[in-house]
């Protein structure tokens, strides 16, 4: 049962579509950034910027981290820093690791299939350029 429409009504605008696509990827990207170990919010944002073209409105990431924590995917701890104020570090829980593995698997097979589908479109574009 689809409780929610896949895209909002104005979803046929390309920039809106791209925004939705990015939004869908942010949760997975946030989990993936913690795969190697704990990070605090700003480090996660910088990591996503450097490792992918996932430039975000910085405010977006914090509510997502908050929700992932409420869902038991992440834990957090406050650590006193030299900066003079504490920082909130996030780490993956076992459930979070498992969810990320499932997401990575689904994402990889999904994007492989779509790339195949889009191959003729991309080739056509290269020829005309």
């Amino acid at each position: 049962m689809a409780i929610q429409r896949a895209l909002p009504a104005e979803g046929d605008q390309p920039d809106r579509w791209e925004a939705q696509l990015r939004k869908g990827a942010v949760e997975m990207a946030a989990l993936a950034s913690l795969w190697q170990g704990r990070l605090y919010g700003l480090e996660i944002i910088r990591f996503l910027e450097s490792q992918s073209q996932l430039a975000l409105a910085e405010g977006t990431i914090y509510p997502i981290l908050n929700r992932l924590k409420a869902e038991g995917m992440l834990t957090s701890e406050w650590v006193e820093a030299e900066a003079g104020h504490p920082r909130k570090y996030y780490s993956l829980t076992d459930a979070g690791r498992q969810r990320l593995r499932q997401m990575a698997e689904a994402w990889t097979s999904f994007s492989r299939g779509l790339s195949r589908l889009l191959e003729p479109v991309v080739q056509q574009q290269e020829k005309t350029q």
Binding site: M1, A2, I3, Q4, R5, A6, Q20, K23, G24, E27, Y40, G41, L42, A57, E58, G59, T60, Y62, P63, N66, R67, A70, E71, W78, A83, H85, P86, R87, K88
Partner: protein, 192 residues
Amino acid sequence: MTTEMQIDSYLTALRLHLGPLTIAERDEIVCEISAHIRDSAEESGASIETILARLGPAEELAKQYREGLLIRQASRSLSPLVLLRATLRLATKGLSGIVVFFLAIFGYFMGGGLVLTGLLKPIFPANTGVWFNGGQLVSSGTLFPAPAPPAHEILGMGYIPIALTLGSLTLLLTTFLIRRSLRISQQLQSKL
């Protein structure tokens, strides 16, 4: 306005708009965003205006925190009021949400009504029950005036356990259905 004043006014607005969250949750969010602002300023040397602009308006940030909270809390609740509020929110999100909302209203109305008539039977024994006429259902519930003969009531005091059981089952089923729908919607939302 000094830098400190700008940060303070942003954090105050954020705290204000986080209204429905608990005080502990609000404190933690404000503390984290405050650390973000200070770290960003140190790290990049960017102006405070730029840093706050990248975070987005405090009201918008708070809204993102609040979103999903109602539905998350409600999917663990048993209270009809909390559940109905959450289904109302669900109804604004699409057609299936509207269906769930009306099913919820219908379920609570039916279940509650049955339980109520079960409780009214001892007070209005002649006016509460299930009336038949020649093998055909005429009416049921608590009625003023009661259906006139030849329609006759068939259950007697047996109406009480039947109405209470059916009513409670309907209420339970409704609660279960709403919570299930809220969970599904949550999962869909987190995948979007």
